[in-house]
Assembly symmetry: C2
Homo-oligomer: 410 residues x 2
């Protein structure tokens, strides 16, 4: 595809031309090409799409290693589609990945014409199909899609990708791009942890207990639990400002929490009798624990699980290991495992599609509410410093974050 | 059954007469009966069996709370059988139970005619059937049996029990009473932990790693692992006496250990490369970890497990909790659970029978060797202090112990 098409004599556009703000370099002949301002704004007049991506070529703090790389995307051919990103969350795992402390490492290459082998950051997002190759069967222009797996690099305005790597949102009516773009990580994590630990079925008289209940996963778990007839004890960090704490409690009750307590209450003296009372003298078992904190809070949580229960760890906000008395494993037969949504979605693409569809169905029916996010608008002219600040602002650790890039129309 | 039969005018024997050394009290009329020395030695001439049992009526240190209680057992009727105990191990769980720190509490009652509600100590053992009731179908005089579940009180010379609570040893030929009497706890624990964690089947190129490898469970695991084509890394405590340590290593190699290392080596710097070499660069996964230690040794062990492996905890010799980095659960997808042989055998009597039979088959074929024990002979005249010293000598904690009561012919 090294054909140079020239509509204006002075402009060459290579099939995989490399776009830097203000200039376009032909990837094949390495000649610098002049670009019209129209092209620079995103969509070239020759069928080429201009894109900007947050890339990194070495690991480090996002503010140090991220840069905004412009390039052009050739028209879609074969089974390829060209996407315009709508929404891309900034999850803490994305930040850890950039820092190099995340076990899933991105592939670094020069496919986008970067001078160094680089990766595009970001792992989750919703996009709109803007053009399709002649061999594409499942998608049409205007469709909404999400990524089938992680590691696809969602922090960019546009991307070209094979249709097989996308999950089509069959019914986008009644949904916002934000809802679709944030469904893959937090709601899917809550959904699978609860459902896959609750193999016994839902009888309406069983409980789960979770810490970090105010996180994206925590709020999703409350709502899904309620939907499935599963009562919840939700542990939050206490706030110095008691009014704020009260508002937070009310927020969680509003979306379906059965009980909300603070970490201090969980580790206090009165909670044992309290939980016994709530669970009808222990006759309503606490079957599942969800832990994203670790350390003492996780030990305290585990002690309220009923015999044979499962505790799933999906984060370590305290950066402390789990500390588990052997009696919990031997005599109470508690099973301790973990959940990693990336691994799950890579391993079970069909289950991911079904899970996403189920959450979006509930969303459409008004039974699954948006989780609060902090939006960072990303337009064609947005400065890289704004984008990097949004990334840097997301806390480290594995804590589910709340920052989201929302892409503006080009 | 309050019928007093009188063969000699001066002797009454109640159906549930209470025997104390030197006298026999009728349980029903509370008259003291004269007893012949023949009766005192164990078997009454009237079909009654004299028994001595280590009982306790309150929790505490074995030396403080255990006493030797004599009583007579009426002739077997219905589906009852009368047993003569052959062998009864002194497991640390038995000691913990007497101390009152074990979660399975015995039922205390006065069925044996104790002045206070009491329990007979001991949970494992082999016995010989000495008489059967007319309704007994599965057992005959001379058969060997083991207990179907725990909590039956095996530290006594004789007992009466319903046949449904016993597992018959179908082929006792080629087996010693010691082999039969020690099969229910340690070998069953090793067998189920390895087999139930190894759901993937045995391909001959997979490993397990265990600490406390010199324990009864550890030695059983080595032998069963070898039998099933499962290589083993065995961690032992280092000995100050290096000759002794070397002998211990050799002992474990002799029964089939693939590798033997000390705790110090496990926590040292060179072990990572070493294990990598042993496991063919990691291509032979370490699928199962068996932990009876806890604390740092358990953390060190867990770090050598391959992704997706299972670590089973069955003891806490260090009396320290497990300390588990969240990454082991989330990213390496290690599953942490526990095994409690009592609960397992109570829940799966059929599986217990099958497991016991399989271990005894291997024993008979010379492929499963006895685990070293310290025998304490228990004859009709053995003083209670001798018995209590044997019990007290068994270490606390959940450590698999090695003391065994071996009953002498009456």
């Amino acid at each position: 595809m090294a054909v140079h098409r020239s509509a204006q004599k002075s402009v060459h556009l290579a099939s995989r031309g490399i776009f830097s703000p203000g200039r376009l370099i032909c990837r094949d002949c390495e000649r610098t090409l002049r670009v019209t301002s129209h092209q620079r704004r995103g969509i070239s007049s020759y069928g080429y799409t201009q894109s900007k991506a947050l890339v990194y070529s070495k690991y480090g703090e996002p503010q140090d290693v991220l840069s905004l790389h412009g390039h052009s995307i050739s028209p879609a051919t074969g089974t390829n589609v060209v996407l315009r990103m709508l929404v891309a969350p900034i999850n803490p795992a994305d930040v850890n990945q950039i820092q190099g402390v995340y076990p899933a490492k991105p592939e670094m290459n020069t496919a986008l014409g970067t001078s160094e082998p680089s990766a595009v950051a970001g792992n989750e997002g919703a996009a709109e199909v803007i053009s399709v190759g002649s061999g594409v069967k499942s998608l049409s222009k205007g469709d909404w899609v999400i990524m089938k797996s992680t590691g696809m690099g969602t922090w960019r305005t546009h991307m070209a990708v094979d249709e097989s790597k996308l999950i089509k949102i069959d019914t986008k009516e009644g949904l916002t791009a934000l809802q679709v773009g944030t469904v893959s990580v937090n709601p899917c994590t809550a959904y699978r942890m609860l459902l896959d630990s609750a193999k016994w079925g839902f009888r309406g008289d069983e409980w789960f207990i979770q810490n970090g209940a105010n996180s994206g996963v925590g709020r999703a778990a409350i709502q899904l639990g309620k939907e499935w007839g599963f009562k919840s004890i939700n542990v939050i960090r206490g706030r110095e400002n008691k009014e704020e704490e009260q508002k937070l409690r009310q927020d969680l009750y509003d979306i379906g929490a059965t009980k909300v307590i603070t970490e201090e209450e969980l580790q206090g003296r009165e909670i044992r009798d309290q939980i016994k009372e709530w669970t009808n003298g222990g006759r309503e078992p606490v079957r599942v624990g969800l832990n994203c904190v670790g350390g003492k809070p996780a030990t305290a949580l585990a002690k309220f699980l009923s015999p044979g229960a499962t505790m799933v760890t999906y984060g370590a906000m305290s950066k402390q290991p789990l500390i588990l008395p052997a009696s919990l494993l031997i005599f109470k037969e508690i099973n301790f495992n973990g959940f990693w949504v990336s691994k799950w979605s890579d391993r079970h693409p069909d289950q991911k599609k079904q899970t996403v569809e189920d959450v979006l169905r509930l969303t459409r029916e008004g039974r699954f509410k948006d989780i609060p996010v902090q939006e960072c608008k990303w337009g064609w002219k947005t400065e890289v410093d704004i984008l990097k600040a949004a990334v840097q602002g997301t806390l480290g650790g594995f804590r589910p974050g709340k920052g989201v890039f929302v892409f503006e129309e080009p």
